[in-house]
């Protein structure tokens, strides 16, 4: 993961945001989507992605759906109702954090 220390704290929010937009996704799909959206800048490792997904599932924010693909089972993750609410909160927190950082680093910049 590029700049892993900076991204690490936002991984759960990134996952929630993607699932909010896409509806349901499987693990590999999430890694590829993030890679594509960030032009390869952010590459989520398997060791970071799956524990994060399992943690969000244990917290009741994600639900699992299983589908048969090419004769094997694939686990899709999707937001629960609680997950949808949490996504809104976490995105607001993240935006606030970005604003604060920008004020510190470059006071003239705005994300709006």
């Amino acid at each position: 993961m590029g700049n892993s220390k900076l991204y690490k704290g936002s991984l759960n929010t990134i996952i929630l945001k993607l699932l909010d937009e896409q509806g349901k996704m499987y693990g590999y799909e999430i890694t590829q989507k993030v890679k594509a959206l960030t032009q390869g800048e952010l590459q989520i490792t398997e060791g970071a992605l799956y524990p994060a997904l399992h943690k969000l599932e244990a917290e009741g924010l994600l639900d699992v759906e299983v589908a048969k693909v090419d004769n094997r089972l694939r686990k899709y993750y999707k937001l629960t109702e609680a997950g949808e609410k949490e996504t809104v909160n976490r995105l607001a927190e993240l935006e606030e954090f970005i604003r604060s950082m920008q004020n510190l680093v470059n006071p003239n910049w705005s994300i709006n």
């Binding site: 693990g27 398997e46 060791g47 799956y50 524990p51 399992h54 244990a58 089972l73 694939r74």
Partner: protein, 219 residues
């Protein structure tokens, strides 16, 4: 480009070698490796190199791992153990908090009811309840242990049931043999102990249910 049956079998063998037997994780890792290899093949990379790339990615996540949270005697693939740790941390916090609150409330409640209520028959009743719970946990243990399909929750149940089973058995023994375990002025810790056992037992039951749910969903 889709993988052949023998190529998929190589992945299966690799996961067997790493002892990733829990279906809730195994199917996920297998699917991830297959899709990753297929994409590499589409980019012109040979199967052998693509498989090695995937193995390099997964080796650190599937290496043998143990933790203070589960007890160092228990060793398993890192990915599975981390999932168990995430569950147990949440449970410990919840169990301790709810046990403390329940114990406090019960002690307040005890102070309002007549002392004649605290007869040894209550202890016998509690002993019988704990005996039933103990027997039930043993039945679940064998039911889950003999299940052909392994899940993370099954692994977790096996670890936890041993600890909880021993404590429930100990409390059962105390309730039957000690005269008036439950008294109006009993010590906080003396009441906290069985309450915590009951809360833990509730979680044990949840694991049993989750194991069966995963089997239904994946098998």
């Amino acid at each position: 480009m889709k993988l052949s049956q023998s190529q998929i079998q190589n992945i299966e063998n690799y996961l067997d070698n790493k002892k990733l037997e829990q279906v809730d994780l195994r199917y996920e890792v297998q699917d991830h490796m297959i899709v990753g290899i297929e994409q590499s093949l589409a980019e012109g990379i040979s199967y052998k190199d693509a498989f090695n790339q995937q193995k390099e990615k997964w080796n650190p996540e599937l290496e043998s791992y143990s933790s203070f949270w589960l007890g160092y005697a228990y060793v398993g693939p890192k990915l599975m153990m981390k999932k168990c740790i995430a569950i147990i941390k949440k449970i410990y916090f919840k169990s301790i908090l709810s046990s403390l609150i329940t114990t406090g409330l019960l002690l307040v409640f005890f102070s309002f009811i007549p002392k004649s209520f605290f007869v040894s028959a209550i202890d016998v009743f509690i002993g019988v309840v704990f005996s039933c719970l103990f027997l039930l946990s043993v039945v679940w243990f064998f039911s889950i242990k003999t299940s052909n399909i392994k899940t993370t929750y099954q692994y977790f149940y096996k670890i936890q049931s041993l600890n909880i089973g021993i404590f429930i058995f100990m409390f059962m023994d105390m309730a039957f043999n000690e005269k008036q375990y439950v008294t109006p002025d009993m010590a906080f810790l003396k009441l906290l102990f069985p309450i915590y056992m009951l809360v833990s037992y509730h979680h044990l039951f949840k694991f049993y249910q989750k194991h069966n749910r995963v089997i239904k969903r994946l098998a």
